[in-house]
Symmetry: C2
Subunit: 246 residues, 2 copies
């Protein structure tokens, strides 16, 4: 039996060594979603590193949405492998938006791109559309602004999921998450929230109807107008508008 102890890792920082070990376990299939990592102390001893380094690696994986750490005992405890790419991408985008190196306009425009594609590609019989329809019905009821926006997020995510591309879905969700704080502030700029909400509901139904009729081209156009219209009404201007090119 060979030892897991690895010394002489000159170029790599210790926590990166742990990171690589875990990633290899994932790629090799020894570790899969739902599985549990060895306890921090155990893993530290196995790899011949300190628990601190193991913890730093786990922190990174947690931020990446790859594991979830839970204290205590039992099935809910320990560090278990999950898969939440949206969380990772969302946090990263939000931070870089904070540093002002990712313009909010570009985030919105990318969202238009991805959602338009998803709407065009979604199949009329996709089961996710049933969820979208149910969410739409729910949005008719009297809701607070926050509740309405929460349902709105879920509706758009359901549409994205209907396209059947996990990467696009994840990116969509992360874009939405990255600017959700920003979007929340925008609602304060709206002159008449009730009127806006009513319009949004109508547009939602149009979009869903277009997809159901397998008119992907129209659905894509409606989605693009829907998203751009909202941010424009709330006061977000494109940075170097060139509508003819979009």
């Amino acid at each position: 039996m060979w030892s897991n102890h690895i010394k002489y890792h000159g170029l790599m920082r210790t926590h990166q060594l742990v990171l690589r070990w875990i990633e290899d376990q994932l790629s090799g299939g020894q570790l899969a979603v739902g599985g549990r990592l060895p306890a921090e102390r155990t893993l530290a001893e196995q790899l011949g590193v300190s628990r601190t380094s193991v913890r730093e690696a786990i922190r990174v994986l947690e931020a990446m949405g790859v594991v979830r750490a839970g204290v205590g005992s039992g099935p809910e405890a320990g560090t278990v492998v999950i898969s939440d790419p949206t969380a990772a991408l969302g946090s990263a985008l939000r931070l870089h938006v904070a540093t002002q190196h990712l313009p909010v306009e570009d985030v919105v425009e990318t969202r238009v791109l991805l959602e338009s594609w998803a709407a065009a590609r979604a199949r009329p019989d996709a089961p996710e559309l049933d969820l979208a329809g149910a969410l739409l019905d729910d949005m008719d009821g009297g809701h607070t602004v926050d509740d309405f926006l929460a349902l709105d997020v879920r509706f758009h995510l359901a549409l994205a999921d209907a396209a059947g591309n996990a990467v696009v879905s994840a990116m969509m969700g992360s874009l939405r998450e990255a600017i959700q704080g920003y979007a929340g502030q925008l609602t304060a700029n709206l002159p008449d929230w009730d009127a806006t909400a009513s319009r949004l509901r109508a547009e939602h139904r149009e979009i869903l109807a277009a997809i159901r009729k397998d008119d992907g081209g129209r659905a894509a156009e409606l989605v693009a107008a829907h998203i751009r219209g909202y941010y424009k009404e709330a006061g977000l201007g494109p940075k170097d508008s060139d509508p003819a090119r979009t």
Copy 2:
């Protein structure tokens, strides 16, 4: 003067408190790209937490491409704010591909979507196209497979940058990074690398020429065919092909 010490953060883990503090500094403008964080020991004392927690927060930010930690003394040392969203998105995507929760096919298809859009939107006089052209000339010389692929990556990134959307550029780069190990293996499947490389070069020149002639529609088509063709030749099949819908 109020104290930075924050006790009683019951619901939040300590490193998340540090994370929030730094993110607030970024959003508020007290910290910007190029700026340096306080030393770990200093920051720990200021926030009233242990150095361990500060380090865990910095690890996360490092993984997110927001800071770079350097030992020693002088301008290169310390923890300095950078902005490399591509690194963060790339690592996250790679890990989730490793867990098999993001199909490689979806990554490729998303790449087609983003690059087609970028090619269609790029302006004929964008300065990034000059770089792309220079890279193309360089690719004519005799290169090893790895060198050729490295230049290929830079060419595609230059095209993406020409569209002027930082989010799309970052996502593009991250998608490429997430599957670059995979793509490297694919080259081994190619029957005749020299022939393939020659074809790729010709396609590159066609794409660039289309953009230069402001024929965005044709550029987008060429890019899509270029990417799909490469992966198809290397043996990657679409998971549920429905070409009429793409």
